[in-house]
Point group: D2
Chain length 304, copies 4
């Protein structure tokens, strides 16, 4: 398939590589051209502009960091008519793998519809290692026909697919909900570790119970270990982006008048982390806020 691919960050680059390896012909674009050129040597054509990447594509895949980036790259275009969306052929499909908000996804859906283009939201679960290992989980939203057209690409990057619904935004909301649940795990570890550490306990025997006795989940094993060992660099997914995702959950909740008290706690702790200069650490550093607030590492005084 002729595939345009925009956005070669931590996640996008290994995804694009897996598409190349699966035999697709890629035209790739990245704001920082350097990252694109590495893949150029593996067989992709490097485009000069987003529009250039979109022009000839049967499917245009985007993997960008947030709503603003998606809007700017897809719809931006100065002068009028040079945006990626205008370059994309009618009948082509845009497969948007970015984690974006509901409103932004609905806007894309409208914009593609008026241009007779297809649109599939296909956010993915998994970090950079999973992207590299073809082990992402794809959440697909869109019409059955459009999803089928993108399926070979989804299969080339992931180990499984869930169809969230006929509406593309349903895939985005699913992804937002999953990321919210993941973030609650980070906060839970932060609070529990603070309590255990101040009580003089060993975190690794606790983790043994978590991993073998209770949750038996790769998510808990991975984050529980990272947080126990305070390995927050290099960031697989930055704390700053974590805040963005919690904001998306709060917005989605507000849109349907659903309070999310846990998301409110997360937001407050993310802001504290940012205020203390930790925005570029891995989002699992969210757990440091609870530890810091509990005074872990300070010399204890009796009675405070």
């Amino acid at each position: 398939m002729r595939v345009g691919f925009i956005g070669l960050g931590n996640m996008g680059e290994p995804m694009a590589r897996n598409l190349i390896r699966a035999g697709h012909r890629l035209t790739i674009y990245n704001r920082t051209r350097q990252r694109a050129e590495a893949l150029g040597s593996e067989g992709a054509r490097v485009a000069d502009t987003p529009a250039d990447a979109a022009a000839d594509a049967e499917v245009l895949v985007t993997m960008l960091s947030d709503d603003r980036a998606v809007r700017s790259v897809l719809l931006g275009g100065q002068p009028e008519g040079t945006s990626a969306i205008d370059a994309l052929a009618p009948e082509a499909v845009h497969m948007s793998a970015s984690t974006i908000g509901i409103e932004c996804s609905k806007e894309l859906e409208r914009e593609h519809r008026v241009r007779c283009q297809g649109y599939v939201a296909a956010p993915v679960i998994g970090r950079a290692e999973a992207a590299r290992d073809k082990a992402l989980w794809v959440i697909a939203g869109g019409t059955q026909e459009n999803i089928e057209r993108c399926r070979p690409l989804m299969e080339a990057i992931g180990r499984g697919i869930t169809i969230a619904g006929e509406e593309p935004w349903m895939a985005n909301l699913t992804k937002i909900a999953v990321n919210f649940m993941l973030a609650t795990v980070l906060e839970s570890f932060g609070e529990v570790y603070a309590m255990l550490e101040k009580s003089g306990m060993d975190l690794h025997s606790f983790l043994d119970v978590v991993n073998n006795g209770a949750f038996r989940s790769p998510v808990y094993a991975n984050y529980g270990g990272m947080i126990a060992d305070r390995k927050y660099e290099p960031a697989g997914f930055s704390l700053k982006l974590g805040l963005k995702d919690t904001e998306l959950a709060l917005e989605a909740g507000e849109a349907v008048q659903a309070p999310l008290p846990f998301a409110s706690v997360l937001r407050d702790h993310y802001l504290q982390a940012l205020a203390h200069g930790h925005g570029e650490l891995d989002w699992s550093a969210l757990a440091e806020v609870a530890r810091h607030n509990a005074g872990v590492g300070r010399t204890q005084k009796a009675g405070g």
Copy 2:
């Protein structure tokens, strides 16, 4: 081994049965004698009092609902000298499988020490089905010697053991911390489901992502399914006891000056559930509070 066993509730009964099946000679006691007699027909001797169950035991196992019950059964005894702890022989070991607080566990440790008895805290992870299937995970706290003496019993009821530390309370704190993390999962499902349901989404395709794409954890599969289907009866572990466990976490946090904002949210939601008459449902009904507060099931009016 000659084993005394006190407390034949949802968890205690299948645990005792597995001990019998492993060949141990059990003397059992339960406040409601009826539950004891069922096991009596499987080979256990039914005792009339806690002291009677303890009198001849090499190891006394207790599986009771809370601090108060443990104190009353172990230390209670009127007149003076007829409590289970006084009936227990010196050199015998008390293996306490109940989920109790740190202070209560430390008190037991002192009481046993002055009587030259051993004390092992051995709370377990798993619900009634896991108890039946010999699939509990045992968290053991105590001296190596005492733990070794109890090991055959632990192996007869569970699929694995983690040693939390030399101090018995360390096992209790580990269990409290795990239960706190489990309760955060219930709340997370409640909030996320409220958002998804009010958005018109299908919970089961969300669960497919949770179970296959993200967490891949039996805990998430089990509770995610129960909450999606609102199966809260019969209660495997009652909401009222769930509150007790969150209170234990808050106390343990306060003792070391560690704030636990998630536990505070849980406590508030548990209280709301109790105030609305749901104390006897399964603790996973905690998730109903977030749904109720979001107005799930109400007819929506535009703009509230």
Copy 3:
């Protein structure tokens, strides 16, 4: 002075009336013309469009419900050039009494500056009765010169003025902060009353302590009484607008990375109130959420 006045809601109408009574010549505009005509009989000229109200004014006063309304009325205008801001004369001053966000206020400042118009943010403290009684408190932000030009109007509607700073947005942020503090009082009353009522206590003797012993504040007397008596209609200020103000506080906090945990609780409770259909009640009905969650009024069952 020749004054344009846009927005004759609960607050705007009595403010406009006091300006008329102070001898100013008003041209008034309201979306629902009927409300304007009542004042027309008291000497104001009724304008057909926002631009019409602005055209001849030395000072244009606006009192609108939110950012969107302010943007639409001031900057809106179709076709191009017919908006109120374009009708306003250079050298005229816009005195914006609405409670709006920081970003919106900064945008107005820029728009007025490029047109050589003055801009003063002048949000007010007080409810409709205070507006009627000339008892508002005006928070003024802007250059000293612009504020002096508006001072006669401020004196005609209020009992005092605080100058928040040279930047108009500083007045807006002050107002947002005050409204946030007011909302925390509503929530506090809700929680405390729930506890007292479920304990079987009389709220009015509690209020006697609050009013005479502790706070001695008209705010506590007023809201404490309304909430005790559940008088939420007619709404002086609607719950839906209360949520808007808390959102403004959260946004202002996020802009400077300041977590506001109390505002997060307020937001969650506002959303619950909206989800249950109470958006048009007075914002003091926020207190009903805490009462409802505590099950006030339900028949209690022992142990939940």
Copy 4:
């Protein structure tokens, strides 16, 4: 009247002095005898034990820091029969001015009843300066007869009295509720100041609006000023005791299944303050937690 007075702390000492000045004959006791002797020179007799202070009293006034202290002083007494409550004459009245919990107050009521002694709970509103200036507000709970017997003492220490109900604990719960509301004001100031300071605003013009435009309350003026100026020493009422009072509110709420989300936030912030060593500062230092978490005073970095 012959008055026994136990507890000469920040509050107790000026209260006792006002009783002496009103012409009552005081026998005083304080754990640290030194504080008692200062008052001895003003006409009080200094007792050697709590029992000694109670022995001859028509009314025994106690002003102690918490449940534990009240229980130890009143009921303690080793050997049996030497406690203050046993020394107090039948028909005498105990007027308990301490801020204690509901359960403790109910226990005192029972203990006095079986001894045919009267019991009035009479906690007071006001800080040390109010105690000195005879400006406390007394919340009285008990039978009309007992309250009347204590009235001259209440009038000698305060500027007004509210009768909370026939049950002594009702006065305690009223006091707990008021202190909870006061603490929410501290937290509100903390959050709002953090937002204003990080936005570059002047706190004193904000306070002008709070004091003259909005709340017009001595409580807001006093704490708003202390927190703006960070004057937390000497402590009028320590942060450690503030936590105790929030715990009393949470307990009272739990007893009737009333969630108190604001109290939960307060508790978490108190614990953070204690964990960071601020337990002996004035309780208004609670506001520093919100400021600290927002990074007030840190050098800001763009984007965290």
